[in-house]
Symmetry: C2
Subunit: 299 residues, 2 copies
């Protein structure tokens, strides 16, 4: 019953693990023991809390991607510098652990020197997308808390750019004065489209457009669902305005949560750009699996 290896996606907020066998996923588990709430000496216990039922007599390789490899995480896996392949066995960092039933490796993120940029976790999804579509050449966008746009050529990440879009949406909709007009989870496509069009045509006016949402709520009774969708449209619009050199004239591959990717695809369609969606988890697992295969070869 011992898995061939264990895949781990360890982000800032969540920890997800998969027991992998010759036919793929055998079992999975998750917890909210993200990197952000753990001290350095708590990582191994947090991991064992999920994977110990899977550990047996032998030593199981455990391959980790994400923020656990950051300086504030479990064990630093120094960034590799683009242009380079998204993942490479040589970059894996072996983490010292107490429990002899695990051999833990952390995959490093990528950095770009100029303009300065970093990613941790997305490189594994990009590697997975490339494993699933080996001939891929073009642009990938990974929407999320920190959206990434990446140019991929000949199996390498050539350049990338990060946007704070998802974090701005969370801060503005949950913690700013705008939250008063955005309770709930409602949505309105027309309001999203309107916000998107405003931001794409006049991205420089974003500062004024944001408070306008509050004012419309106070004196125009803007419904919460429309306000939320319009805020999303505004922020994605500002991102697309800046990322135009990435998507113009391209087919964009979107990797991320389904609903969010659909919003990005809808937004790109208004600019005449076609998008293809890849599920984030499948890409993460395919990326980690490519490392597992490389490890096995060199073992």
């Amino acid at each position: 019953m011992t898995p061939d290896w264990i895949a781990v996606d360890w982000g800032t907020s969540n920890l997800r693990v998969w027991a992998m066998g010759p036919d793929g996923i055998r079992a999975e588990a998750r917890s909210d023991d993200g990197m952000g709430r753990l001290a350095r000496d708590q990582f191994e216990a947090a991991l064992l809390a999920l994977v110990s039922p899977w550990l047996g007599g032998g030593v199981v390789p455990v391959i980790v991607c994400g923020m656990a490899g950051s300086r504030q995480g479990w064990f630093e896996a120094p960034y590799r510098t683009v242009p380079c392949t998204p993942l490479d066995r040589a970059g894996l960092v072996r983490v010292p652990v107490q429990d002899a039933r695990m051999a833990v490796y952390i995959a490093p993120g990528l950095k770009q020197t100029k303009p300065a940029d970093v990613m941790r976790g997305e490189e594994t999804q990009i590697a997975g997308a490339l494993a699933l579509h080996p001939a891929f050449d073009g642009v990938m966008c990974l929407p999320g808390t920190h959206s990434k746009w990446a140019r991929i050529s000949a199996g390498e990440v050539v350049s990338f750019q990060t946007y704070l879009t998802g974090e701005l949406f969370a801060l503005l909709s949950e913690q700013s004065v705008l939250r008063h007009g955005m309770a709930g989870k409602g949505w309105d496509d027309a309001a999203f489209d309107a916000g998107l069009a405003d931001a794409l045509s006049r991205p420089d006016r974003i500062g004024a457009q944001l408070f306008n949402l509050r004012a419309e709520g106070l004196i125009g009774d803007l419904p919460a669902a429309r306000a939320r969708a319009r805020l999303s449209g505004l922020l994605i619009g500002v991102e697309l305005a800046a990322a135009k050199p990435y998507w113009l004239g391209q087919v964009v591959t979107l990797i991320g949560a389904d609903a969010l990717c659909k919003s990005y695809a809808r937004a790109l369609r208004t600019q005449g750009v076609e998008a293809r969606l890849l599920p984030a988890t499948e890409c993460s697992l395919a990326g980690l699996a490519s490392l597992a295969r490389q490890l096995e070869k060199t073992a």
Copy 2:
């Protein structure tokens, strides 16, 4: 010892009161009983906690400006609609109170129908600036949590526009991923200027510029003081880019906290625009005093 009247500036976070006599301020007090932390039935007690030492035998007029007059505040003072004078005795709302030693009035804010916008508190500062400079005609900017730009002509607010700049700075520097690189209170003028120039020349790239601060901190060791100042420059730059129709070719009167107004003045100077600074408290008090005089005439 009873004052002629009491001036109250009741914002979201703070409550400030002044005992006013024929020669101006006799005494002042403040607390953190802002509108945001009070239920409707707690306002009178919060006010009395500061002003009761000043109350004697007669009835003292208490004139309030700010968020206490909002729908979520003590007692709603419905917005007046621009174009109009910033304050008018006819707009004052009398608040029912238990303590017979006070006659409490709240000044309404202003609203603009299209584009939708609102202000509460700043109208009193504008009225005060006009009381101090009756011949004023031109543009006022009130930097703060929600910066306001207003066109003033013939004693009326003709139009105005609000920017979320101060709130964005607080959220990004204290609660977003950027906070890791911004501890402390340091400052760096050159970094402010660089952020400002970047945002003014390419305001549409703000989404990418923000994460760049994080990446520079991680891989370029950007010092916290430079990161904070650069963030401020970026956000003020995006505001100025959008507010250009307000300031282009004008002399701008800045009303607000001294350090923040100096940053705005510095920013405007890079665009060849001269700024004059007026202290915020002096303006608030002059605005409330103009109401006190009108009340006295109609009493």
